[in-house]
């Protein structure tokens, strides 16, 4: 099957991630003819972005009109233009002068009249520089009297007025970052981008696999797996309701048909008691089918197809052919995971996420003693991001906490009646 997601060019009706220079993000649907509102930064016509590469940054230069620009951030442009003295903003536009007057009024030690007077006493940048210098000297909010922090202050002011944004492809990373950093980490059970990546690798996700998945994030995990598989393979989605919650998947850009091909939902009842809860749908005769109304016939055919698919899924499951278990569930891992891992083929990863490490400890104890699982551990990963500005590099001062934990193990096929001769983890004995 060919590649199912076009992630290169901004295309009509795509969902995309819009990022601002401040780092704030939003998910938008790029409808042809639509207008996206960026609050105080203005609006832009969606049509003007189609055909550009995802990752393109734009600047709103006039009402709704955008032009492509090189970078979302203006940092590097500023540092290239930096003058040896204190940083001086552009004083040509009256808008900026007004900003300075506003600024001045907030400062002890200088009144608005003082500032006006200084500006009148000379013209152009020399005066502006004096103004800035005097303001810096008296401004409380200046941490230290250095070029370094003045730039920071003015960069911050500048950032507020740069009307730029970037449109990124809505990858699983874009999605998880949006929810985890920006919107509501609990929606994705506090999952971070790096923890998601760790799960994908440990679960050995690759095109053509069949993965047993629990996903209470609304489909983020399923989406990440589909993304890696690019149409080849399937996800058996084990869920505790009538049908899985797919609200994130709806932003994915996959069509219903594509999703239907790749995702095989199965409820707990169907999974654990297939005999009682699956089985052939009542079949009408060809004559009866021909006599049905169009809508009734379609409904019937859909039910048949669904039952057929479910039967295939049940067969896959009961044949123990699944290539990994990847779980993001809030059910007690200690009792859930041992039950479902039985359906994995041999030498297949068991990967279980939980927001709280404490919830995975008992699972590790239980599976350490379970002959069906080896190489268990609980993994934790955290990425530290840096302010990456030449001359002023340092880790970000604050970041989102959390990110979750991942239990990892390998499902094996124990031989019958084997003596555990000096095997298993040596337990440290206590001596008090």
């Amino acid at each position: 099957m060919q590649q199912t997601r076009q992630s290169k060019l901004i295309a009509p009706n795509d969902h995309g991630l819009v990022t601002m220079p401040s780092g704030s993000m939003r998910i938008v649907q790029l409808r042809p003819g639509g207008v996206i509102n960026l609050g105080k930064f203005g609006h832009f016509l969606v049509d003007q972005t189609f055909g550009y590469a995802y990752g393109q940054a734009f600047e709103i230069i006039e009402e709704k009109k955008v032009v492509p620009v090189k970078d979302l951030s203006t940092e590097f442009e500023e540092s290239r233009e930096a003058t040896p003295g204190p940083v001086v903003p552009d004083f040509k536009s009256s808008a900026n002068n007004k900003d300075l007057v506003d600024l001045g009024q907030k400062i002890q030690g200088l009144t608005a009249q003082d500032i006006e007077k200084m500006k009148k006493e000379g013209e152009g940048n020399a005066v502006a520089r004096q103004i800035i210098e005097k303001m810096i000297q008296s401004h409380e909010a200046f941490d230290k009297k250095t070029l370094f922090s003045q730039e920071k202050y003015l960069t911050r002011k500048q950032k507020k007025f740069t009307r730029r944004f970037q449109i990124d492809y809505l990858s699983s990373s874009a999605l998880v970052k949006y929810y985890y950093q920006e919107k509501d980490p609990q929606r994705v059970l506090d999952l971070s981008e790096e923890t998601l990546g760790l799960m994908m690798s440990h679960a050995n996700i690759m095109p053509g696999g069949s993965y047993l998945v629990l996903d209470e994030t609304g489909g983020l995990l399923v989406y990440a797996i589909l993304e890696r598989m690019q149409g080849q393979g399937s996800v058996v989605w084990l869920h505790e309701n009538d049908q899985p919650n797919t609200w994130i998947l709806k932003q994915s850009g996959y069509s219903e048909t594509q999703l239907d091909e790749m995702i095989r939902p199965i409820s707990f009842l169907e999974f654990f008691e297939p005999e009682s809860h699956t089985g052939p749908v009542f079949k009408f005769t060809e004559q009866e089918v021909a006599e049905m109304s169009q809508s009734r016939k379609q409904s019937y055919l859909r039910r048949l197809a669904k039952a057929d698919k479910l039967q295939q899924t049940v067969d896959m499951v009961t044949r123990n052919e699944l290539d990994a278990l990847v779980s993001m569930s809030t059910l007690n891992p200690s009792t859930l995971i041992p039950r479902v891992l039985e359906r994995l083929a041999g030498s297949r990863p068991v990967v279980a996420y939980h927001q709280y490490k404490e919830m995975l400890i008992e699972l590790d104890h239980i599976l350490q003693k379970d002959k069906r699982v080896i190489m268990t551990s609980i993994a934790e990963t955290k990425v530290r991001r840096f302010q990456t500005v030449p001359g002023k590099m340092h880790p970000l001062m604050t970041s989102r906490a959390g990110g979750g934990y991942v239990f990892v193990g390998l499902r094996v096929l124990p031989a019958e009646g084997v003596q555990a001769v000096g095997r298993g983890k040596k337990r440290k004995t206590e001596e008090t």
Binding site: L9, A53, A57, G346, S347, I361, M393, L410
Partner: protein, 334 residues
């Protein structure tokens, strides 16, 4: 090498699990045997068995597991020729750069090929990995390894990319670039020839020292890469353990008991140990914490709390990961 097969066949690469950090790669060959500390394991007895099977030795003392190769297991088992890229770093890089089935990736240098295997697994049959190694011997070793591992989607080139660039006879059009070189700024100049022109291209430079990072940032800027961000990955592994719960009241009681016996003139330590019917040492006096003998974690008769513990040593630094991207300005189409 990376397949979904369930059953072991002649010629397959199998990772034999002998112990937690002891994975031995073998190629299954009819007639051959595997010697381990647990005894002898004929390959013939492995053929036809499912991957993941636990096999006992001919002496039926001790056992091994026959594991299906994955890049993560390979990272544990491979012979290190250089410092390798471990899973916490590689998994983040792959996720962040959006490497998926069908992707086209450049990697330089190949090193021990650990990350090459991870890329190969992820991009799959439709994808391509272009790996470059300048060191002749390492190149030869990698070449041999990739061939025997059947990494068919991987093209290995013996090249000093810093001086001689990345171009090869076939089209590269890389969508992602991973540079693990001492001087990545030298290689960056040669990238325009080999990266895709119809989409944003992602890059990650892997450098241990701050100074290398600073130079690389400069070079990336210079060559039009944007969204430059320095990161580092801090990962930990935890193990479930049990800690004895010792109650204050029991400690008080024990002290009271000790004092009582002291008053009564008994010196507990001087007496020979009391033994029960099985010959096990019996506690003398009130001994709620099993003082004086070895207790198994989780042993009955005591109270336990689940706790987690990291290994004694932490990997606190592998390298800095410097990310950036390059977006071609394509025309707008209505």
């Amino acid at each position: 090498m990376f397949h979904h097969k369930k059953t072991i066949a002649n010629g397959d690469l199998v990772l034999v699990y002998i112990g937690r950090d002891n994975l031995k790669p073998i190629f299954i060959k009819e007639g051959e045997v595997l010697q381990t500390r647990y005894g002898v394991f004929p390959h013939d007895s492995m053929i036809g068995k499912p991957f993941g099977s636990q096999i006992t030795s001919t002496k039926n003392v001790g056992y091994i597991y026959l594991l299906r190769p994955t890049p993560e297991l390979w990272t544990v088992s491979l012979p290190h020729r250089t410092q390798i890229v471990y899973t916490p770093d590689s998994s983040y890089i792959v996720q962040r750069m959006n490497v998926v089935g069908g992707s086209r990736v450049i990697e330089a240098g190949t090193g021990s090929g650990s990350f090459t295997h991870a890329f190969s697994r992820t991009v799959g049959p439709q994808g391509r990995v272009f790996s470059y190694e300048f060191h002749e011997q390492r190149y030869e070793q990698a070449k041999q390894e990739f061939e025997s591992h059947q990494l068919e989607n991987t093209t290995l080139t013996h090249r000093d990319v810093c001086n001689d660039g990345f171009s090869i006879d076939a089209p590269v059009d890389a969508q992602m670039v991973f540079l693990d070189l001492p001087s990545p700024w030298e290689a960056i100049t040669h990238l325009p020839e080999v990266i895709a022109k119809d989409q944003t291209v992602e890059i990650c430079c892997f450098s241990p020292c701050i100074e290398q990072v600073v130079k690389t940032v400069e070079a990336l800027q210079q060559y039009g890469w944007t969204g430059i961000e320095l990161t580092e990955v801090q990962a930990k592994q935890w193990e479930a353990r049990k800690e004895m719960v010792r109650e204050l009241d029991d400690a008080i009681e024990r002290l009271r008991d000790v004092k009582k016996r002291q008053k009564e003139g008994l010196d507990l330590k001087k007496l020979p140990p009391k033994r029960d019917a099985n010959g096990e040492e019996k506690d003398r006096g009130y001994n709620p914490f099993g003082k004086g003998r070895r207790i198994q974690e989780g042993e009955d008769g005591f109270s336990w709390q689940n706790v987690s513990k990291t290994g004694p040593e932490l990997k606190t630094h592998t390298s800095y990961l410097l990310f950036a991207r390059q977006t071609p300005t394509l025309g707008a189409k209505v």
